[in-house]
Structure formats: C-alpha cells, structure tokens
Amino acid sequence: MTDKQNSLFVFIEENNNDINLSVNIGKIHLENPVIMCSGTFGYGEEYGQFYNTALLGAVTTKSYSLKPEKGNPPPRICETPAGLLNSIGLQNDGIDCFIKKHFPEAERRGIKLILSLFGSDMDEFSELAYKVSEIKDKIVAIELNLSCPNVKEGGIAFSSVPADIKKIVRSVKRILKIPVIAKLSPNQHNLIEAAVAAEKGGAEAISIINTVVGMSVDIETFKPRLANVTGGLSGPAIKPIALAKVYSLAKEKILPVIGMGGIFSVEDALEFLIAGASAVGIGTANFIKYDIGVTIIDGLREYLKRRKIHDINEIIGRLEV
C-alpha cells in the first residue's frame, strides 16, 4: 500500500474518456467495479426499464442449485432499523431453467454475468459445474455461495470449513476452467483461513459479505417476524461491519476482494474501494433506489474527475492508517 500512497495523482483534463474505471480482479476484467449482488437483481427485464444494464461491471445471478428450490414459507421479509431481514431460502428455478430461460435473456441484453451456484454438498457443486460447461465461455465468472445464512441454522453451513472450501473451489475450477469467486460469510470467524483455502483451491477472488444472521420478534403474537425464525440482515445497518471485514481481508492480500454490504450511494462504494475492495457489490439498494447501478458508475466518474484522479485503481486500498 505504501507505494500507492506515495505515488502522485495524475492530473487530467476534464474529459470522461480520460478516466479509467476498469478493474482487474485477478483474471476477471470488468469495465467498471460495480457488480449487482446475487439475489437482488433480475436479468434486465426489470432494471432494464431504468437504465442500460449492460453498462454494469457485472451482474451476479440468484444462487442456483441443481433442482428447483421452493424456498422458505412467508413472511420472508422484515424491515429493521436501516436494515432488511430476509429468509428467502435460495428459492430458484434450478440450473437447467437458468441455462434455458434466463441466460439467453441476459445474453440478449448484453449483461455481463457472474453465475452464482449453491450446492448442499460437494457433489452438487460438481454436478452444477458440469451443467454450466455449455455456457462457460459466455459468462464472466462463477461465484460459489458458501455462505447463505438461510439454509443451515446459524449460517454455518458445511461450506464454511476451510478444507471443504478448498475442495469445492478446486472441483468447480477443474471442470469449468473459468474464474471462480468464493462468497464467504460474515458469520464465520475464520475468514482469513477460509480465504486462504479458497486461494489454494484456485479461486480468483473473495466476495464478502453475505447477510448477517438476524432476527425480529412480533411482541403481540410472540411469533418471529420471519416464518423461518432467523434470516439474513442486509442494507445500510451492516455497512460498518462489512467494511471492517473487507478491510481486514483485503489487507492480507490473499486474493482480491469484492466488497458488499449496505452500499447505497457512491460515497459508500468509495469507502469499500478505499478500504481495499477491488470491486463493489450492490444488493438491497436495488430495492429502494432502482437506478442505483448507473448512479454509482456515474458518481465514481464524477468523484475521480473532481479529485483529479485518472484511474480508479489509484484509490483501491489507499486507506491511510
């Protein structure tokens, strides 16, 4: 970090084209560092009505499993102070449906896709990878959801054990040979070990954070507000937590980090980049600020222009501690 800190900013003319927003996350090249988080964005049908979703750095799909998943019973949503609790429970149409139906739609719209996969055991991850083979050259990367808090209680799935993480990443990587991102949980204490394991397995980057285990109670009925009792907390409430996790992992320089958790504005996105994230994920904000994707891309450009910084990479990890 010190060499970056000492480098002088390159002064530039007032010209958008002179500003570089593109980033490399390991071997993943993105036109800009703005990624839509898994489970919070469609394939263009909805958000395409607000802006050109092909302009996004990438869009991560909902996590797909081998078979369609019904998901958890409602209520699945509960608002908390500056936060959202959800217990969707990975409802999805199954990987086959994705490949047949959603993928062509996204492709048609020119969306850069990161495909999120979720398996309940090692074999499921491999099977998923085989299925994906036919479209593998048309997607940006695979993201492995190793961290959903809504499937095992407490959010500690089998996939949080470092040795398992390494095996899962390796097997998927071996089959697909495209970049693999490991999405880890803020609920797991061994974040560093988990990242090292992912790196050893051949991952290209780490996505953090998934939602934080949370809960809410209806004091009139004595029932939990989510039918599933606990859920995952997202939104502005968790931003400081996410930022601390991103910083603590990014400074270890194990793998590039895609940072997410409560990003609702360009200022929030900049906090993550400065703290060390190579790219940022926008999740819950999509539900409230429908045009947040393009707002942040434009905002990053404006910020760099104002600060006379030529290249977004100059601010990544630039935190002065």
Binding site: Q49, K70, Q91, P236, I288
Partner: protein, 264 residues
C-alpha cells in the same frame, strides 16, 4: 414502470388514520390500470430508516387533471411520514407495478367486496367497470365510521352498494361476509373481486368453494423490491399433483384466482 418524483396536489385527512393523497403524474395516468400499485419511498433522500418502500394501490385516476390518488391508512412509520407531507412536496415513487385487472371479456355483472383499506384498489376497478357500462355492486365492510368520507367518493360513481360496519356507525351493522353469504344467490353470475384482511378473504374463499363464479382476490404481503426480483412477497398457491408453489404478489399478482390461493 418508471421511477418518478411527483408533486403532491393534496393530502387530505379522511378520518383519524385515513388519508387520500393526490399526486401529479401524467405517466401514471396514462399507463396505470385497475389493480396496479405504486411503491413509495417514505424517508428523505439519504435517510435509511425506514428503509423499504411501501406499496399502495392506485385508488383513483383523474386523467383530465393528470393526477392519480392513493387512499392510505396510517399504520406505522412509513405511513406516518406520508401523512406529514404537504401540497407542493415531492414524493418519490415507482409505478405502475403488478398485473392489472382486465375487465374486457369478463361478465357484465361485477361484485366488489372490500374490507377496510381493501376497498382502495377496488375503487378504480369500479370506476372502470362503470365506464365499460357494466353493472357494478360494491359491498364494503368496516370496523367503524372512519370510511364515512369515502362513501362520498363512492356515491360519485352512481353504482349500487352496501356498507356494513361492526359497530353500525355507518351503513348496516354486521360483517360484510355475512351479507355476502346470505345474499349469494343475488350475485349469481357475477364476477367477484375482493380485497381485505386475510380472515375475510378466507371466509370468501369458503363461501365460494362450490360456486361457479369467477372470484379474484387482491393479496398483500411484505415487500422488499416490489418489481419481482427478490422473491420476498410470496404466497402459497396450488400446483400440480396436490403440491404447492410460491408466487410473487408484486409481479405474478397482486390479483389471483381465489381458488388457487392457499391461506395458512
């Protein structure tokens, strides 16, 4: 659908907790149809508590003034915020959302059953049915007289209606479902649309189990995105072979065939 910033034309108090907000929006007037809703941001820019938008049915559209309105009841922090907005303030909303109800090709007789704030989406439906020269009957049930002023709106439509209140303070005393049950024959051959508290909807489902009427229900559930991407707002519906599956109220609904819905 579009993300919009509309000017508030009025925010009238109908009764202690009931308000009608009129919003300027040529786009909504042009695009929206009965059964659709808007999703409203209930905090100033940059403030994240309350965080989520709130969904409200489009209550009325007055095309010649380029305004639409919502009728809302103050329940919690979001609607409390809305109740403090004034003429001239801007309101951030998205719409129209959800599937609309297409009256074309439906029966000529329409029965609307609304309980409490459930009357909100049915009003525009009634209005359109009148335009299409259908025979409309509006059956509304309330706790008390808080919807008294709404009756004036209803009268403007010049349709037949009945109002029941639990305390008898306006209309007849009693439950609207009991009225429907007792008069079920009267509405033979009507298409039915209902909206209201879950208990009422369950009762209506029961009442119509064996009838041949087409019965549609407008549902509510907590929503996060309102546009169909989060799978937050699901309802259990019947699927093949005695199975069930989840449908999204915001995108697959909010109107469903009452016979496919599984109320828990």
């Amino acid at each position: 659908m579009k993300l919009l910033n509309g000017e508030i034309i009025s925010n009238e108090r109908y009764s202690e907790y009931l308000y009608k907000m009129v919003i300027f929006s040529p786009y909504i007037c042009r695009e929206a149809r009965p059964g659709q809703f808007v999703n409203i941001r209930c905090a100033p820019e940059g403030i994240y508590d309350p965080l989520l938008r709130r969904p409200f049915s489009i209550f009325d559209i007055e095309e010649k003034f380029n305004v639409f309105s919502i009728l809302y009841s103050v329940k919690g922090r979001g609607t409390e915020f809305m109740s403090h907005l004034e003429k001239g303030d801007l309101i951030d909303f998205i719409g129209p959302l959800g599937n609309y109800i297409d009256l074309a090709g439906t029966k000529n007789n329409v029965l609307l059953i609304g309980g409490g704030i459930g009357i909100a989406p049915l009003y525009l439906l009634a209005k359109q049915a009148v335009v299409m020269k259908k025979n409309v009957f509006f059956a509304a049930g309330f706790k008390d007289k808080s919807y008294q002023k709404w009756e004036d709106d209803l009268i403007e439509l010049k349709i037949d209606y009945t109002i029941y209140t639990e305390d008898g303070s306006i209309g007849s005393k009693g439950m609207i479902c009991d009225y429907i049950r007792s008069n079920i024959k009267l509405f033979n051959g009507y298409d039915v649309y209902c909206c209201g508290p879950k208990e009422m909807l369950k009762t209506i489902q029961n009442i119509y189990t064996k009838s041949s009427n087409r019965v549609s229900v407008l549902l509510e559930e907590k929503m996060a995105c309102g546009v169909g991407v989060c799978n937050g707002c699901v309802v259990k519906v019947k699927h093949v072979k005695g199975e069930f599956r989840y449908k999204r109220i915001c995108k697959d609904g909010p109107t469903f065939d009452i016979r496919e819905v599984i109320f828990d």
